[in-house]
């Protein structure tokens, strides 16, 4: 009875714990819109190393990561690199309020995914989720959350694929 009980738990836990992060697969293409209605396509970034970041204004690690994304863009944008962020708030006013607290100008585009359709394409499980996509459009790295040592990891991955 005890063995049966443990077997049941294991057979449930394994599917729950092991999930696909799509590393090594082509990044699903999409068309999104900014808060002002401009069309933004992922395919516009082909040929560049791209950081694709999913975030929301109420998410604390997202707030900490945003200045770092600006820093990355300013550092590498002259070298076939870009940043594209997908905002998942339900109202565009929340983006405006969030950005009003950022002292620097935002140099990259922000997709306003009000209906949150795009996270499912990328199996997003937590926020922020930052995907590094290489010049051929393949997902090469995923950084989930944002902690102190993530800056160096993300920077190292970007430089690896910029040099390829």
């Amino acid at each position: 009875m005890f063995k049966f009980f443990v077997n049941i738990i294991i057979s449930i836990i394994i599917p729950l714990s092991v999930f696909s992060q799509d590393i090594g697969k082509d990044a699903p293409d999409f068309t999104g819109y900014s808060a002002s209605g401009d069309t933004i396509k992922l395919s516009d970034y082909k040929g560049k190393v791209l950081v694709l970041d999913f975030w929301a204004s109420w998410c604390k690690p997202c707030k900490e990561e945003f200045p770092f994304l600006i820093e990355l863009y300013n550092q590498y944008s002259k070298k076939d690199f870009s940043v594209l962020t997908i905002n998942l708030d339900d109202e565009s006013s929340k983006i405006i309020k969030f950005l009003s607290h950022i002292s620097e100008e935002i140099p990259f585009k922000i997709v306003f995914d009000k209906e949150s359709k795009l996270p499912a394409l990328y199996n997003v499980d937590a926020m922020p989720s930052s995907f590094i996509i290489d010049k051929k459009g393949v997902i090469r790295y995923l950084n989930v959350g944002f902690k102190s040592d993530d800056k160096s990891k993300i920077t190292a991955e970007i430089e690896k694929y910029l040099n390829n």
Partner: protein
């Protein structure tokens, strides 16, 4: 033999499970903070008990997944009830105070230090804490550990806790030292029910053994002209269980209501019901208000009597063991600092100010053993600062 093989096989399977699940779950679960919290708490009641309780807690991250914390507090207790005991208890007057303070004024100062470490391993969070508390008639060593495991994109979190206390009791008016040991097991389940409702179940099991009395309490038995003053006697074992549920409802964009219920029962026949309601609301981006109301009902221990006419096997006089009810209300605020505030300390968004005022009323079905009142009224005044570093 068969059982050991089964356990070994299970152990291997669980280890395999841990190894294969760890690479797939790459994010941490607990948010680790760098902060210092300083609190000043006070308690005053009509039983002449006054407590001042300043404390400092520091939390510092070592790396992205590890955090250390340290705490120190002082309990300064002044109790007139103990003074009354010293006057009437014939045993005391000849007993020198070896631990400091005067024989006639048993004011107490308790020092407590604690250290802990929290580590995130994949999605799991483990914390281990140790604490040492000392005053001139009591010492306590505590070891506590907690494991927190999320499932289903953190919609479900299972928590397991273990605490062990090793206490020594050596009252100023006694010649002995006695031990009290406590083991606590906790199981908790936090479950998100919807985008605005989250619930938590909690079950705790406590095993206590040793000396569980207050060494200053006495039992007075009056038989005609004869007064006997005896030490209380309680069972030296107690098993305590509690099961609780509480749920947070996000009733609007800025307000939350929490409703909770707990049932408690133990081997001394004390059963209790606790009902709590909490209302929290953001009055502004920086100011938060909390209102709490708690109602508690308790039965008495099987050996507790309001009065003893003859010595009995077990005799207890502690009002905690008596039947009765309590009502507890508090109001609190949380104010997050801002650069625009023209007020020292609060002109930084790294500082939060907290304050609360509470009123506590306990009614017991018979008078307290020394104060001779059935109704205890207490006021609790707390304030503190939290600094992000």
């Amino acid at each position: 033999m068969v059982h050991k093989e089964a356990v070994a096989a299970v152990g291997k399977k669980l280890l395999f499970l841990l190894l294969i699940s760890m690479p797939a779950i790459s994010y941490s679960q607990e948010e680790l903070n760098n902060e210092i919290q300083v609190n000043f708490n006070s308690y005053f009641d009509n039983y002449h008990l006054t407590v001042f309780y300043p404390s400092i807690n520091i939390s510092k991250t070592l790396d992205a997944n590890t955090s250390l914390n340290a705490s120190y507090l002082v309990d300064a207790i002044s109790s007139a009830s103990m003074k009354m005991t010293f006057k009437v208890d014939g045993i005391t007057s000849a007993t020198p105070n070896k631990q400091g303070g005067a024989d006639n004024t048993p004011d107490e100062l308790r020092h407590q230090v604690g250290f802990g470490i929290t580590r995130n391993i994949s999605a799991t969070s483990i914390s281990v804490n140790g604490m040492y508390s000392i005053e001139h008639d009591y010492s306590s060593k505590t070891f506590a550990s907690n494991l927190s495991i999320p499932f289903a994109k953190k919609n479900t979190i299972v928590q397991l806790g273990f605490t062990r206390n090793w206490d020594k009791v050596f009252p100023q008016n006694r010649f002995w030292t006695k031990d009290r040991n406590t083991t606590v097991l906790n199981l908790g389940l936090t479950q998100i029910l919807s985008k605005s409702i989250i619930t938590q179940l909690d079950f705790s099991f406590t095993n206590m053994d040793g000396y569980m009395l207050d060494g200053y309490q006495v039992v007075r038995i009056i038989t005609g002209p004869l007064l006997q003053i005896l030490e209380p006697v309680e069972p030296d074992k107690r098993i305590r269980r509690a099961a609780g549920i509480r749920t947070n409802f996000g009733i609007s964009k800025s307000s939350t209501i929490q409703i909770g219920y707990r049932y408690y029962w133990d081997t001394w026949d004390i059963n209790s019901h606790t009902i709590e309601g909490t209302y929290k609301t953001h009055l502004s981006d920086n100011l938060n208000l909390t209102l709490e109301l708690r109602q508690y009902f308790q039965t008495k221990a099987y050996f507790f009597k309001p009065e003893y006419l003859v010595p009995e096997t077990f005799m207890g006089v502690d009002s905690k063991l008596n039947s009765g009810y309590t009502t507890d209300f508090s109001i609190g605020i949380n104010l997050k600092g801002d650069k625009s505030f023209n007020f020292p300390l609060l002109n930084s968004d790294k500082v939060t100010f907290m304050a609360s005022l509470g009123v506590y009323h306990r009614h017991t079905d018979s008078p307290d053993w020394v104060i001779r009142l059935q109704d205890l009224y207490a006021i609790l005044i707390n304030f503190g600062f939290k600094f992000s570093i």
